[in-house]
Symmetry: C3
Subunit: 341 residues, 3 copies
């Protein structure tokens, strides 16, 4: 049975200014949906003028609109909730309509799971069919190890973590509380440290750790290499999207955001609250300062100062990068004018 | 026992014009191989002048040649089949010599597989050792779930599908008939939708679906994120190579081709029959029109019109991109001439 | 019990010139650690002036220093070992302190592993819980197949190999001796060979092999596609980092180094001892000559001659690429001066 929230109550919960036109009935809401799909009992949202046509045509019961777009409220065929920040309001609404379900999942070692007798698994943890936990591994309270995941002997996992299906946590890893590891992600792969010796490539023994602090979330198919010496570390509350690569000895600060397919080379340092777009590459030993922002697809070959915004290959301050692009256009035009045809 | 196909018959099947020189015996063919490796009972092919030396040296029994290269037919030491389109002919030849084998694989739940009693698995489907199918999951006729694959409870998979070894199909996924999912590919990872609240990063609850339409094929280690609301969709007959990332709420049309390591951000739209090269990135909410072509390694920051061909970072029409490259050369030359040395 | 190595003995083993100042006691070393973390029984290293502050502050028992930095030896608060090449010395030191442990791992089929009775597995090999080895597969002496790995029927694996947790070795693969396959890596995914036929996309049957020669090491989450015909081959002693993609029919020479997230399209050839940086893309059929070096994030669209160093998109000789970057700066400055403000 879905939750039912009347229009007025929803408005109050979202700190919204309700706009109900004459003759409009206040709806009762049960879910959230996108403008084109939403029905009469669903809340939707319109965050930009780009979606004005969808707004006019929607069959939603109610629409969230940012206060700065108040003048288009009358274009909506339904009641409107004006809010200061649509994404904040959406987050709250989604938490109302889709509260974390009280889990019906049984704790303990499920049939088909393999937990070594020498593992220290809390009885409230859950290890699913086909998952394996090795000798001496620690699995904290309420942590869930999904189907097919491998937690090697010696790894330490905190409380309330989620180890996704087919993920791998190697022996050298320590995970704090509330860490989420996406499906297929590998923590503790060997660092890529090579030395040429007598004509052959030798790999430096990799004896360091991976430390993932409290509340970090990693997407699917990430790879985090263990340190050669010391540790590779991801700081508290950071978020990595899918297919991100973190090289050996990298240190990622707190509250960092890294989008999909980005790669950090060995010993890179990323400061707190930095934001890296998708498909970014950072060369080894480079430092990206706290609060810095790196545009998608950039190649970072020099240190990026605190709070700087950079883009391009090689990455330069965004302003310079935009200048380059517009210069190109002008050069091209000049060239066309001057070339005899 | 391999198939044996006489030269004449093969020519007829491939709509080819046979070229048998005086004294040459028509060969009997049993397989297809590349020019340097092919032996007297193997068919080979030469699609470009680039391989003329290999053609001259081949020991193949017979060579496919495009009609436009008819003048080099006499360079081949063996009989030749001239065809309008070498790749079409190759496809037909390979289907003749390597027909899909009547499967000797037993249907049903194999020893070591874990299928929940509450799953709805067709008796003609096959679930292999170490694979798991959760409660309420639907697995259609003749679908094969390979070793180590995880099909979570609630997922729905059509008929004649192949779920590769160690692939993951999360609960929120619906797959049409004839879908192929490569080894290790993850369908339904969490979307990367973050909201800052009281100084911390919160993830928007992700409650949407992933819909993979009929006949779609995905390579190995792809990640397809579920929608925040609504659905992430890949249209009928599309093909994704290895390590492709599809963000939440992306919509990929029909017959789209996406090469390896390309990433689509959230809410991207790719029109029917578009072609994206490898390592391309598309920024969130961008639209790539039907039939458009995006060059390898491009960064798409603006919408790409229907049938347009673009390349570069940021992506511009290919013509402009080539202009840029040649302008560079001219500027550099000018600069060298003018600089005092 | 850790190894203990006295300062003098260590110096001799590393061909180092010891620097022990008056009053300094020669330390006994037990491990290797980074400058900031190292304690009085640990060896550390300082490879560049960049780390001078850390050198001054270290509590390490002894520090490795390259001979070319001999003048800063007196800045270290501890005895110093001067060496010709710090990385070589580090490799030797790590091999002294962290010798490959005599394995305590039991050989044989571990509980929870599934080895087909028709597999040819050497009794000294080890297959771990949750791993599967199919009918007709060959697994050589002392090879370890880690938890959750899938070795399909027909695959052939040499002696002393390591198949990482959740890796997949498909039926079409042949691995030489001493090959290491990282966690989650997929060998033998289907090649991406498409042909349009009657309006639909058809995949060419992929009937070729993957051959991995002796001593090759692949990181986590690599994908190596099988050949359409013939083979995809990685030559002896080559090293691939995490998330590398190798397209169908590619041929990688011996001793090649490929950094993370790089992708090779179909039929690419990489010569012996070439080095490719991270996130590089190489277009199909391109040849990178022996000993060539390709800078990170480059897009290789033309053949690269032997020993050439290239960078950029499209990749050009490094010298030209640097010229381009500096030209940009000058153009921008000129432009600023000339623009009326």
């Amino acid at each position: 049975m879905p939750y039912e929230i009347p229009f007025d109550q929803l408005g109050a919960r979202l700190d919204a200014e309700p706009r109900l036109r004459a003759g409009q009935q206040p709806p009762v809401l049960r879910a959230v949906a996108e403008l084109p799909q939403a029905g009469p009992h669903e809340l939707s949202l319109c965050a930009s003028l780009r979606h004005l046509d969808s707004l006019r045509a929607t069959r939603a019961g109610c629409v969230l609109l940012p206060a700065r777009l108040a003048e288009i409220a009358s274009e909506a065929p339904c009641p409107v909730l004006l809010v200061a920040d649509v994404r904040q309001a959406l987050l709250r609404a989604m938490e109302l309509f889709y509260p974390p379900e009280p889990t019906r999942e049984e704790p303990g070692v499920q049939p088909g799971a393999l937990v070594d007798p020498a593992a220290r698994m809390d009885p409230t943890a859950r290890v699913e069919a086909g998952a394996r936990v090795g000798p001496g591994a620690v699995v904290g309270q309420r942590t869930r190890v999904r189907s097919g995941a491998v937690v090697e002997g010696g790894a330490r996992i905190g409380q309330g973590c989620e180890i996704g299906p087919n993920a791998v946590v190697r022996a050298c890893c320590e995970l704090g509380d509330g860490v989420r590891v996406g499906p297929g992600t590998v923590l503790g792969s060997d660092g890529f440290g090579l030395v040429e010796q007598a004509g052959a490539l030798r790999r430096l023994p990799q004896v360091g750790k991976v430390v993932i602090e409290e509340g970090v979330e990693l997407g699917a198919h990430c790879t985090v290499a263990r340190a050669t010496l010391g540790e590779t570390r991801i700081g508290r509350g950071s978020r990595l999207d899918d297919q991100v690569h973190v090289g050996h000895n990298a240190r990622i600060g707190e509250r960092v955001i890294i989008a999909a397919q980005t790669g950090l080379s060995g010993s890179v340092v990323i400061g707190d609250r930095a934001v890296l777009g998708g498909q970014v590459g950072v060369a080894d030993h480079r430092v990206v300062g706290p609060g810095a922002q790196v545009g998608a697809k950039s190649g970072v070959g020099r240190d990026v100062p605190e709070r700087e915004r950079v883009a391009g290959i090689p990455a330069v301050p965004v302003r310079r990068w935009l200048e380059q692009i517009s210069l190109w256009r002008r050069i091209r035009k000049l060239d066309r004018r001057e070339r005899p045809k």
